[in-house]
Every structure is written in C-alpha cells, then in structure tokens.
Symmetry: C2
Subunit: 371 residues, 2 copies
Amino acid sequence: MAEVYAARRERLRERYTAVGSGAAVISRPANVRYLTGAAPRGAVLFLGPEQPGEDVLLCARQPTGRQDEGRPDEALRVTLLPAPDADAAVAAAGLAVRLGAETIAVEEHDLTVARHRALGSAAEGLRLTDLGRAVEQLRLVKDEEEISCLRIAAEIVDQALGELLESILVGRTERHLALELERRLVDHGADGAAFPTSVGTGPNAGVSGHRPTDRRVEEGDFLTVCLGAGYRGYLCEIGRTFVIGTAPEEWQIELYDLVFAAQRAGREALVPGVACRDVDRAVRQVLTSAGYAEGLPALMGHGVGLEIDEDPQFAPAAMGKLDACVPVTVEPGVHLPGRGGVRIDDTLVVRPEADGGPELLTITTKELLAL
Amino acid sequence: MAEVYAARRERLRERYTAVGSGAAVISRPANVRYLTGAAPRGAVLFLGPEQPGEDVLLCARQPTGRQDEGRPDEALRVTLLPAPDADAAVAAAGLAVRLGAETIAVEEHDLTVARHRALGSAAEGLRLTDLGRAVEQLRLVKDEEEISCLRIAAEIVDQALGELLESILVGRTERHLALELERRLVDHGADGAAFPTSVGTGPNAGVSGHRPTDRRVEEGDFLTVCLGAGYRGYLCEIGRTFVIGTAPEEWQIELYDLVFAAQRAGREALVPGVACRDVDRAVRQVLTSAGYAEGLPALMGHGVGLEIDEDPQFAPAAMGKLDACVPVTVEPGVHLPGRGGVRIDDTLVVRPEADGGPELLTITTKELLAL
C-alpha cells in the first residue's frame, strides 16, 4: 500500500509545484488519510518540494493504527508535536520555513481564519496560497482497493438491515431500532456508523435525515431506515422503506412505486460521461411529473468515499460529468406531511456499459416488503 | 426562556457595538444555540446594531425543535435560506448590507478562510472584524437553568453506569459494553452520548480516550469506563475504574489510591478565584511526586456546557481564574504500558465555601469496587 500513498502524494505535488508552491499543508482529515493511510485526530500532512521529499505526518500522539483511524504509510515520516495541544498546521509552517520554501499551499476550505493566521505568523515571510479542493479532486475516482472497502461496508449495512427485518418491529421505538442497527454494524466489523442512523415510522417515514424519536412502530406504518457504515475509513449508505404488518394501502403502493421508479431512473442514468445535473434531472423528473415538485430533497444523490457526502453532487445546478469508478448514492424520497413517505437509497459505482453498467453495492431488495 | 436568550444577545451586542461593529454573525453551533436556544444544522445567527434589532436566525430548513437540536427563542425571527445548500453566513452578510452596517464582527475561530471570503464578497464594501471568543466568554459562567440541565445529564450518566455495574461483565467486549452504555443513556432520556463512550479493559484500562476494541473483560482486569451524556444540549461526563472479579492486587490498590488522591486534590482546589493552572498543579503534583511524570494527560480537567470540552482548561500553562457557577471536570489518569491503569473523572460546579464548596454532579461512588 505504501506505493499507493506515495503515488497520490506525487500527483498532488505535481499540482502545487506546477503553480509555484514549494510546499503544501494538508489539514482536512479525509485528505490527510487519503494521502497517508491514517488521520489521527488533529494530524496534518506536510509536503515538501520534491520526491523523496521532506514529507511528514505531524501528530499530537503516536498513531494507534486502529481500523477507524488507519495506519500511516510506513514509508512516511511521522513526527510528534512538542505539546499535545500544539497545532500541527503551525508546526508544518515551521518545516516549510526551515526548508526555505517561498510559498505554501494550504486548504482554505478547511482552515479557520484564526488557524490560517497562526500558520501565517509561523511562516513569517512566506506566501500562503490556496490549494483549493485539489485533494478532493484526486479522491473522486476510486481505485479497486478503495472500492473493495466500500463493497465490504455495503455488505455490512446489508447484513445489519437484513437481520433487523427478521426481528419483531411492531411496538419498538425508532430510537431502539436505530441503536440496534448501529450495534449490528459494529458486530459485523464496521469502523462505526457512517452517520447517525435514521429510523422513521408512520408520519416520520420518508423524512430525509430524520432523527429517531420515541415513536413506536405501528401496524400499517411506513418504516424508513437509512444507515451507513465505515470500513477502513470508506463510508457507504443504504436506505429502504417498508410497510408494517397488514397489506399496504393503495396510496402506499402508489407512492412507493413512484419513488422506486425515480430511483431506478437515477441508477440507469449512471453512465460514464453523463452530466451530474442530468442524473439529478432523471430522478427529479419522475417525481415532479407526478406532482411532487414541493419539498423535494436538494440532492438526489452524492459521491461517497472517505466522507459520506463528497463530490459529485446530483443537484439541478451541479457542474461536471461522472467518470467511471466513482461511487455515488441515488436516494430520492417523497414525504407527505402527516402521513409519512418513502425513501430509497443505494450506493453504486459508475462503470462503463462494457463492464455491465453501474455496480450496485447495496443489494438489499427494493421490492415493497410488508413486515 | 425567551428573555434569557434576548438578554444574552444584549450582552453580546454591547461587546461588538462597543468596538464599533454594527452587526455580528454567529456561526459556531454551540454559540448559536447559547444565544437562540437552538442550533439547527448550518444555522447562523445575524445580530443587528440595536434592540429590538433585526436579529435573525438563518436556517436551511425549519427547525424541528428536537431536544438535541433545541427550540429557537420564539421572540426571535427565523428565516429559511433560499436554497438548502446556501451558506447562512453569506445570507447574513446580505442582511448586514441591507441594514447599512459598516462593520460586521464574525467568528474567525469558526469560519474557514473560504467561507470568510464568500461572506466578505457578499458584504462588499463592509469591514469584517473578529468577534473572537466573545460568546465563549459569556458561556463560561452558567445560570441555574443551565446547571440544572447539567445536573440531569449527570443523573443520566450515573444511572447508565450504575446499571452496567449490576450486570455480568466478564467475557464481554469493550465494544459491547460501550454500546450498551450508550443505549442506556438514550433510554434514560439523554439527547445522546456526549462523545464516543470509552471502555478499556486490562492493558487498555486508564488510557485517555481509548476507543473500545474487541478485547473481552477478564478476571483481575482493571476496567475503565468514561462516558458522557447531553441533556437539552448540555454535556456532562464521568469516568470510573474498577477491578474485575478477584480481590485487587497490591499494585492495583496503590495505583488507584494514588489517582484517587490526585483527583480529590483537584476537587478540593475548586474554589472561586483560584488560578486554573493551580488546579492543574494540585492534581499533577500528587502524580509526579509519586514518580509518574511521564505520559500524563495534557489536561487534568476542563469546562463543560454546550460543548464537552470548553474553557476553562486545567493545564500547566492555562491562564485565568475560576469563577463560581463554572462547571468543570477533574479527570486525572495514570496508564502503565502493558499493565493498564486508572482514570477517575467527575463533573462538578464551582461554588463558594459559603454554599458548601464545589457541587459534585456525578455521584457514582469512587471507592475501588471489585466487580
């Protein structure tokens, strides 16, 4: 793996040296992990002007190598900060000075103004430039190693959800179902939940990002579950909606079929080269043409990887096109105030037609189950 | 409660108007909640030049009023952003422009450089100044309403911990014990865990911030548990160390007594007017004089409130003095690599002698229990 991280650092080095920076300071945790294999809390990566370079991972404490934190690339130098509460970004600026760099590229979308100023004073006389989202751009297209971590994360959420469906649901609260799901994620080897598990019943079903309440599952409810898991730092999500007990009512079947059709349209739109906004439109159109223009989610899906909500975004104003090997979610939902609603959410990897089209990672059935 | 929030906003308004700012933009979630009663995700508080003022809470979506998110002060205007992914801080800048403010005070320790720039361009021609940690300073001393929330949070952690102690521990993994504790916190009405619950057994016991592993509790282990709960946004923590099964060994008793003595010294040092570094010294001295200078935690305790780790800090270089009605933790620990260790952590409120001295919120026993 060490070569993988070294190669990523080289690709990044080409970018900032090309624009005249002699060094870069990477502070955003997911970016640090992408370039080093680990992101101990508060760690910052310093990158010098050239290979092999004076690259250093600056940490407050010795990395633990825990699965959720990762293990730093053994080819990379790791330096502990003088004090546990010292700012690694400021220490990195000191390295740039000693190196005689004239310009440091920093992540202005991550550093606070106060931290940026502290870094600037430590780098007295050096110019600070904005690295922008250069590392995020490198992270967009995943290699097979990354995708296999996502595949395992997907197996974990499928297992946790599958086990829940075999248990009795009526009478249990949203909170307890959510906690049980999170326990199962850990049981199956997840680093942890990728985000707070959302369980919505009855009127709460289909609300995006609904935080579980003490409402109990009742006969005839819609039940929406959205959960995510991390495996070796890679985060994957799934969302499903079920009906409880009795046979679904007419309106429930209609609403479900509609959201299912919208979600399928999104999945089918996932071909290399498609504009992200066209994926959004493919999904949104199905819902709007059925009269659900109001209160639709801002995004119909998004990229996943070391963060649960990364580029690309499927939104009406989204820029850019989809590439192969980009993992994304497709997650439309409709909520009828007071009645409940439906969300269906999958994680897939964009693949060329020749390879069979989009690879579905979350394989739990999407037929409307009555539990 | 509305008056409480209005009064807090007035105290803050005096600060920034005194230094010539006509408006302020509060972006740090805990600060937004302190001043409004709620902190919906991404919400920003705009404060105008004067009472009643054009104060507005800018949100991406209608606040839910959930216990963990809070309910906005009904006297305060709430405005929804045009788009769910719009930046509320940028929208706030627009309000300042329409108001004809010349200067806006912003939280440079919270805003990223990129966000600060976006806010600046939206506030074309206005001067941006740094509000600094003015709201954090207001938050230091808690009112009785806040302290009663902390008291309930403390009852919750005491209950969750007490129930765990009644169950069989040998053979269970750190992960499962941690998950069970978090479930119990929720059962007892917590908003949720204040931080990832830490359970350490055997060689992992006493490691500060230890993330639970699959190691199982064994006879003769030290078992260290640190957990925190939030109630209406107010966060409280407790840490205890136990021995499992058989009677403790000599070295375990000695180490426990030492950490207990250090922690008691810290609790006894909590009097209004004491220098924060003196509280740190009171605790640290006991440990260092016993030969444990190496690898001690950077902090011997810290303030708690709307954040689990707020000012003041008990550290050797800490500035400032303690006031009455400041809730803090006292949490020394010693870890012997390969053997394990002890941590004892309480949340207390600083009170004058006349009122009986420091108020202990977390009342679970600190005698060395053999479970």
